[in-house]
């Protein structure tokens, strides 16, 4: 039990219950404040977190959101992301054990992201933004504490990755020339949507020369086709986050989101 002889921060750091940073001590009072944000049954099972298969309930997710430093209003996003990442096609079990170092990037679209301050502008993948920092961290703590995705225990990751501390952002809708990713997937602009993709930390394509799309996209495409990336050797996801300036060059030339994305034509699937 915690008492005056126990440093609460050191207590959690000495257990395998942290990502290496101090956590917010999940007292009953704080947990109650966090849970007050949701109308869901606290004991509702969200799912089993692989590979340890410990049970994620609304309450245990709230505990980890609290430990990560989330404000109570972030809880719906953490609950939604926890449910989403347990979909079979996302294969979180495989990523928990892999030698690779990918992490679940969360792209949070919709009005609630703006309301709670998920940041998509200047510096959005770096430090300084509580919602981005703590929502993503909550997911990591869940993967570690309920899933045992701990290096040397069940995670065989060679390097890990800074993005394994947190990987959460929204889009820069103020300087966005197109509809959001969620809208491009068929959701309404007023829907609150999370996209999760297992990806590496970003590799930047810095281009202050190109002022028209053909040249600009060629440089971005070259970055996408790195020989050492798995994208060149397997079917694999990829996130391309265009800065508003680069996106603006494309939009200014009349290109829509789907024009920049554009699927490969004349390439039949096997058996086709």
């Amino acid at each position: 039990m915690l008492n005056e002889r126990v440093d609460e921060f050191e207590f959690f750091l000495e257990k395998p219950w942290s990502d290496g940073f101090p956590v917010v001590t999940p007292t009953e009072e704080r947990i109650s404040r966090m849970l007050a944000q949701t109308e869901r049954d606290y004991e509702e099972v969200i799912g089993l977190i692989p590979p340890a298969m410990e049970i994620a309930t609304v309450r245990t997710v709230a505990v980890h959101a609290l430990m990560a430093g989330c404000r109570p209003e972030y809880l719906p996003v953490v609950l939604g992301a926890t449910e989403l990442m347990l979909r079979e096609e996302f294969n979180v079990n495989g990523v928990q054990g892999t030698m690779h170092g990918v992490a679940p990037m969360m792209i949070v679209n919709g009005p609630y992201a703006a309301e709670i301050g998920v940041h998509g502008g200047n510096g959005c993948l770096g430090p300084g933004f509580r919602a981005n920092a703590t929502i993503g961290r909550a997911i990591r703590l869940i993967l570690m504490n309920l899933g045992a995705g701990i290096p040397g225990i069940s995670s065989m990751t060679i390097f890990g990755m800074p993005s394994r501390y947190t990987y959460c952002l929204t889009e820069n809708m103020e300087d966005h020339p197109w509809d959001s990713l969620a809208v491009s997937k068929g959701y309404r602009p007023d829907e609150n949507v999370i996209t999760m993709a297992m990806v590496e930390s970003p590799r930047f394509c810095f281009d202050d020369v190109s002022d028209e799309p053909d040249r600009l996209l060629l440089g971005i495409a070259d970055t996408m086709a790195a020989m050492g990336s798995w994208n060149m050797h397997a079917r694999s996801d990829m996130v391309v986050a265009m800065g508003p300036q680069h996106a603006g060059i494309c939009a200014g030339a009349g290109l829509r989101h789907r024009d920049v994305h554009r699927p490969v034509r004349d390439r039949r699937p096997k058996g086709g």
Binding site: M85, F90, N122, D222, M232, M238, H246, P263
Partner: protein
């Protein structure tokens, strides 16, 4: 206006892939698209299915785009709404 999108132009020729990196003939044959490992001019796209590319606009003002490569083990991006 450009005639090509990222899914079309991001990729390498088989002949280039053979010169380094993770190339294996059996990997090429296991891809979900047709790739002829004996044709050095065969184009291998980085994006095998357009659903695998999540194209977003984020970050501050400046001439930069962030590219985040994926994992080999078969993870598909997921999308969904959540309760507020």
């Amino acid at each position: 206006m450009t005639s090509t999108g990222l899914c079309e132009i991001a990729g390498l020729r088989v002949g280039d892939l053979k010169t380094g990196g993770n190339w294996r003939r059996e990997r090429a044959l296991a891809l979900p698209i047709k790739v002829d490992p004996d044709d050095d001019d065969c184009f291998v796209p980085a994006i095998k299915d357009p659903e695998d590319l999540q194209l977003i606009v984020a970050g501050g003002w400046g001439p930069c785009t962030a590219v985040c490569h994926g994992w080999s083990g078969g993870s598909r991006a997921v999308h969904g709404t959540y309760q507020v």
